[in-house]
């Protein structure tokens, strides 16, 4: 569910982009489990003065993502708020297994290598409106190797990696120097914090055995980068090794739902 003022700002995002993003975040949820999107429904709560032209632009964005990922928009609901309320869009999606069991966040194993796709951070500068859900890449990864756990990074690596750890009953140690920075993050004052905390990267975060990780990196021919950033450990601590050799707790700095 995207909320005006939280997930988008109508001053900087077109309604077409808002529609695209609403569909894309759910497509990314399919990617997160390596499943194949089948169809989507969208429920929109329109602000009071929303007009038909605006609704058409919102719809066009939903359809752009739906077409690109072959996931038809098959229904939905349109309602109008009373005064003073913002636009809200909830997309729900059905997906099917894509040649393997859906990959969960609760099945990371001690000793796993932790990997991410792409570069992290700075998404609010623009990528958050035009990101590419990693549906194809997730299916490709799952077809090449045995992945033990996976999710998409929606709230930031520092918030989402602890979710995998809690769900799996494990800890983790990542290396600050290995966290891949997006070009947007590199331009910021503190690129590492941006990569850890900014959220809305919609990249894949996954864990797999060391041999499987070697095999994946060797056989990977897509343009999207895969980076090994750390290791799953016993215990429940989620830590980060800084470039000066110190090791500290990785504190969630991303979006909190509550």
């Amino acid at each position: 569910m995207l909320l005006e003022g939280v997930h988008f700002d109508r001053k900087t995002a077109s309604l077409e982009q808002v529609g695209y993003k609403a569909m894309a975040v759910s497509l990314s949820d399919c990617a997160a489990m390596a499943t194949v999107p089948v169809g989507a429904v969208a429920a929109v709560g329109l602000s009071e003065n929303f007009n038909e032209g605006e609704l058409r632009r919102l719809h066009a964005g939903l359809i752009r993502a739906a077409d690109k990922y072959d996931c038809p928009l098959i229904g939905g609901d349109i309602t109008k708020w009373k005064s003073g309320q913002g636009l809200s869009i909830a997309v729900s999606m059905l997906s099917r297994p894509g040649g393997c069991e859906p990959i969960r966040r609760s099945t990371a194993k001690v000793g796993d290598v932790i990997c991410v796709t792409g570069g992290l951070g700075g998404s609010a500068g623009g990528k958050h409106l035009e990101f590419q859900p990693r549906v194809k890449e997730a299916l490709k990864i799952a077809s090449l190797v045995k992945v033990n756990s996976m999710m998409d990074i929606s709230d930031g690596l520092s918030s989402d990696l602890p979710r995998i750890c809690r769900a799996s009953g494990v800890g983790a140690l990542i290396e600050a120097d290995k966290v891949p920075l997006s070009s947007a993050a590199e331009k910021k004052d503190d690129p590492l914090s941006a990569a850890l905390d900014d959220g809305e990267d919609f990249e894949l975060l996954f864990t797999l055995g060391a041999e499987q990780a070697d095999k994946l990196v060797e056989s990977w021919e897509e343009t999207l980068k895969i980076t090994r950033i750390g290791t799953v450990e016993a215990g429940d601590e989620v830590r980060i090794a800084m470039s000066d050799g110190s090791i500290t707790s990785l504190e969630p700095g991303g979006y909190e739902h509550l």
Copy 2:
């Protein structure tokens, strides 16, 4: 999608009732096609100061409806609005065919008898928060006879019957004296208008051949009343015969989504 101030008022509805209603309206959508609910997801946009106790009460209402209709809540999304925004809840539901093809609103046939379940009108007085989605009854009807078209009355008979007609390329004539009044409608100044326009009845509106209608009424043993209110006609006019013998156009007076 339920929106605060549109579908419920927190002054008169408890959060538990809001949760129940959010799930029940989607269950009614399953009933509308005579399908069997399988599972639901709920996305909630919380107003800024919503606390955990309130969220638990909302959840309890969702679960009350989910349990009653054997449709588990299998996932969802929780986000928080910035200041000044109301509560929104979008439930999406998966259902499966229930022994017959899903019944559509686009397949009414000229000559069909038009039927409704229960009594109509006055739902805002309380029923809209505690109505019983007609899931069981829809499946029962569809198992007994061949139903040509069906929907649930969510926006009012005067708005919803024209939808069946437009979708099916037919007209309709209903008789004012036959429209079943709820006890809440009977207490209002203009009970007929209440029954036609109030909306949120969540009763079934369906059409079927005359012989099938006879058979249904004869074999129907449920407590829920089924009433024949009119006939599907050729053309595109939707009309109502008043008790004085005059015939006028049935003007949509219910909830307009846009």
